[in-house]
Assembly symmetry: C5
Homo-oligomer: 339 residues x 5
């Protein structure tokens, strides 16, 4: 039963909620797709690891049944259906963990999906906003009994899922690293207004990434401190490994932030230089021709008594004076390194 | 008795102070409006939850009576009537909590009202600056016995009120998020001086929001640590939920701050670009015509002996020279990507 | 005896040091003005609160006598006579507290005066740089036995003095708040070089205020932690109130710092806009007339064979061409939103 | 067996992995080059210090054999082969330490190589990305029994290797310090676009250096706290010395960051000044000649009735007026300090 | 014996190392100058305070003898001869403290000299880079038995030396304060390129001062915590006084940093204003005369059929039109507050 008004409800997916159960131990492996909530509860076996995956949060009835069976706290269900800061919270009978799962859509836009986990002694429930996740490859490994997961319990399963999500952060960060290099090259070949937009887009992506990754450090450190009984001592070292990855990610985010700021500086400097170049050409041409135009203006005057006008040498001498002035100015500007 | 000079007294509302009492337990519910202070005190029943709501702080006599009956500390009354940083303070017989309640007036201006709570074992007093609050919907829920509030004690009541206030922060933050997107779009269509004002207004709103929200984290964490006996262990988890919301709010405020700074950068860049564009047109036109004007000036001179003037080809040749120079410069500027 | 070289000696006032003693308990009140050091020591009574106020630090002899009678540590006397960071220090027989007392002189300049307190079990010594302080109103309250001070001991007296000083910080901060609003209005009506100076002055005032207020938080928190025996448990809550005020002040200082930075941005933006406006007018006028001036120059040439000159329609046609060009350019600039 | 997907795999060197063993105690010294994995394991002697150096991480088979013999944890092998934040981690049977080894290639580009250490009671394994390191000089010292290393155990060996790496950081930082001074001189002689590139390159180098050095402080502090049994109490002081060096390095990095920012300011200021100078010359020349050109234009008009034109003094008077205006303007600009 | 490669060796002074011994207790005082290392060791007396001052670090032999006699740790001797961050380190038989001693050379350049102290129960060794220090005045005080130093032990001696060094920081900071005021005044009278250089120099000096002073806080706090047995409880209060001074210095450095940044803003604003002023004059003159020059150009055309030219009123009317246009523009610019 959800009584509190939600601060920022997650957008609801359309269509039915998809329930999936993967039940395994050393000897056995079963996967059930598209179960109804009641069927799923019937299939749970306490002596095995039961991974329940819920795709979609739009069906209150389904969530209520799961809540009732696992005695989930009202606030926990609120947390699952609302936009949350990544966090870990221990309840009496289970551990709650929520974070963002990131996708790069067509290599362009980063999509954020909230994923929440409830870890009990022999079960793990994962709540996703919509269908489709990063775990298909890993599901296959469980089925084929590759790696250590079948020999381990639910806490190791959660480790593997978190590890997969965090590893995917690296892929997105690498893409950003490539983008930064691309923009650098672009600037070398002449910055454009386009470049500015790209840098701004990058900056914005980093702002949102930071919001997803920074709180994860605190959440992971809670698990690593070993205060929770739902993660066994042997498994803690694995969580510590994810913790190290998150800290490494934060380092990289900070580095990228600094690099993006540097890109911005380069872009602005390049633009200023171009402006300066334009103004210099204007200044050189104006400064040379304005006095010369004055001189020719003088001898365009119609005074009756202008002795120079009647001299045979007036015209060539005027040219000589003008060429001297023009050349002198050019030399002066060259010396001043104006161009 | 209030002896200390107040550092920054809250502005006093006009009209009489409005006293309201909501008294309830599992079985009963009573609401009394517009009570006098004495009547109110007579209606209190120790075996029920007594929620006393005081709208307006302008009537010293009323405050004195309440202070006397509940033995409120002098400093506490000072805190209620003065502008305070959000904070939690435990006294021997009650817990004091003060924070800002935010309203969005006509979707434009954010209004801040200070609300203070005194939580005892079977009572909760709420002091507001003026009439009107966010709790009407919730009062109705108590009356109809919806949710868990009638089964719980005063500490749960305080939780629900705080939760309502903090949830309203989200609504205001969402509005700011929308404004940021609006401004982004506006800039895409051409930034104006108007845009700059809007960004500045946003920045200022964020500065004041930060001042209201940041200290709330410390105040909430004091309640969550479980050191106070006025909040029962079962209820602490609810307060922890508000704490999480506040931390999430702070994250969002930081993100919005960064986004606003980015908006400012975009605005400035757009303005600079427009200036550059103007200057480039000026530079191109000037640089082309200034030498040409010089040439026509030359043949406007009135020297008697200018052989070119008498040649039949003088005029057309001059045109050809001028067109060549003009076209050459245009090509040069094109190559330099000036326009 | 003062042996260490002082790092930054306070400026010494002129004239004699003024000693004042206020001695009181529940029943009695005595005030002695302009005492000599010896007389003052004779008047001390251990069963009452003795508040010794020293105005001026220029007379080493007086300080030596006080130091000798109260066994003040050499370093403490150094601290009193030198510019200090606000701090609290506990010695065996007394508690030392120093901070800055702020005055607003003629509503313009902020004046800083260092005030140091030595709190013993039944005495409080206050050392001020010069005559005149903020306590006259409070002295009157003691005399008239208003409030609780006559019923309390020396630690409460120190609280009231500190409270008076910190409350005065608010008045100064309010003035700064008003100044910020004034400058905002001024900018709305057209920023001037004057505005820039005012913002800079504000910025500087905030820098120095921060230096006076930030360390006060640490100093106050030392008293509030309840580790010192010179402040009784009942009184600690009062000190905690001052601590809250100081934290609130720091919040406000940070807010004002952000607002001042925003003012600066607005000022710079306004200036840039004006520059841009000027350059645009120049650009529009130049860009329109430079080509036209070229055209009239062409027909000012003196070539013998210029067929246009002899045509009856030459002159009006030239005007038509020029008007077309001018109007075309105006339309183009309008479309580009140059003005 | 490496089962987790690596977040950012280190680039693999080509060619075979090179294994080297240096085995010594007070009396004996043996060095084995280019051993196969099996041969190396046979040569280990538990009563001596065994330093195994692995150059290259491309041969999974070799790594597996080493992992198997020393019972290295899966996550540890992952850490060795992936890009890591510098860190220290204690396992049951060994201590893991990883950091970056820096090279300055041809005095230009800084190259980062990850080096990882596994320290057991009588062995030290060092994993490098590729052949070639900073330890040749030190290997010679071991052979010749110089210094204290032959009398000490494996923890002292690790200290010496870490010390060599950190000392090399200083050499790179000194180079950066020299670069800063070079750029300062360059700016004094006239800044160019080249200067800007150099400052940007410096900034980027400092960003990456920070990423390598900052986390080292935490890693080293873990060793210094004396919580690990693999570093003996006598040796801890040596590690504390490295810790001090790292903190010193961070101080220097911060200083260099500030200096680089100052360089940028100087560069921008120099550029602005040059622009201002150019614009001033343009302004002075234009402002003087534009009115004069107007005047000569006036007397170039062809009105029939212009009395001045027929006056004998018209021409010289016009010159006098123009010279007066020109000189007046020059004086005005001089007074305004325009040039 | 110094075996580690030094990260950044201090520059070595020329000439011989100068050894000085001052040996005193309440009754006696002896000063020995220019001793050889052996002689010095012979003169040490365990029942007195022995202050050994070493001027110059260039003579390894002398350092070795001192190291041997006092059993100084290898790392400690490394620290003395290499550039160090200010720090305090306790060894078994002595306490090591190193910091920077600052000189103001001819009121211009700040010179940094590293000074290291080794404090034992009855001796204090001070190592300086070169001859000349700040202690001459204090040596005289010891000789004349002024102050408390002759009655105290070596820890008090160290306090007095540290206090002298830190007090000298204040003198340097005051000089910087004066410089800031000087530059402010200069800017009031018209900023120049010179001003910019001065601000930059100031900024650089503050960067380096910060590097010397900030770590001193941590180093001093180590002594103040009372964990070391080499500083007696009575003396700790004196060290706490230095600690307060260092914190005060850091406050002042931060304030000066802010003030310097403000100076930079003022400088940039002043420069921009001048540029704006220049551009405005250019714009006003150009904008007025460009249209007028066009008009006179029109009547300079040589068309045969221009009726205006033959009218008697053509010329004066043209003047009237031009004066009207010019005056109209001037009024417009005045209204726009362009000048």
């Amino acid at each position: 039963m959800n009584t509190t008004n939600s601060p920022t409800e997650l957008p609801l997916a359309e269509g039915p909620v998809i329930l999936e159960l993967i039940r395994y131990n050393k000897e056995e492996y079963h996967r059930f797709n598209n179960l109804k909530a009641n069927e799923l509860i019937d299939q749970l076996q306490p002596d095995k690891v039961n991974w329940i995956n819920v795709d979609g949060l739009q069906d209150k009835e389904v969530l209520d049944k799961i809540q009732a069976h696992f005695c989930l706290h009202t606030l926990l269900v609120d947390d699952i259906t609302n936009d949350q800061r990544p966090k870990a919270e221990e309840y009496e009978d289970y551990l709650f963990f929520t974070l963002k799962m990131l996708y790069k859509i067509e290599g362009k836009h980063i999509d954020y999906e909230q994923i929440s986990f409830v870890l009990g002694t022999n079960f793990l429930i994962s709540f996703q906003e919509k269908e489709g996740d990063l775990f298909d490859h890993f599901r296959e490994r469980i089925r084929l009994d590759q790696g250590r997961v079948r020999k381990q319990e639910a806490d190791y399963l959660l480790y593997r899922l978190l590890d997969t999500i965090v590893d995917n952060y690296y892929i997105i960060l690498d893409k950003i690293g490539e983008q930064i290099e691309d923009i650098e090259e672009e600037i070398d070949q002449g910055t454009t207004q386009q470049t500015f937009r790209q840098i701004q887009k990058l900056k914005k992506e980093l702002i949102f990434l930071r919001k997803a990754v920074y709180p994860l450090r605190d959440a992971m450190s809670k698990l690593v401190k070993g205060e929770t009984s739902f993660i066994k001592d042997d498994t803690i070292r694995y969580y510590a490994d994810i913790y190290d990855h998150v800290v490494h990610l934060i380092d990289s985010l900070d580095t990228y932030k600094d690099l993006t700021a540097a890109l911005m500086d380069i872009h602005i400097n390049t633009q200023n230089n171009r402006m300066t170049e334009v103004m210099k050409v204007l200044a050189v041409i104006s400064t040379i021709f304005i006095p010369l135009t004055f001189i020719v203006g003088v001898y365009g005057m119609n005074f009756e008594y202008m002795p120079e006008l009647h001299s045979t040498w007036g015209y060539p001498l005027t040219w000589m004076v003008m060429i001297t002035i023009g050349a002198g100015m050019l030399l002066y500007f060259k010396k001043k390194k104006w161009f």
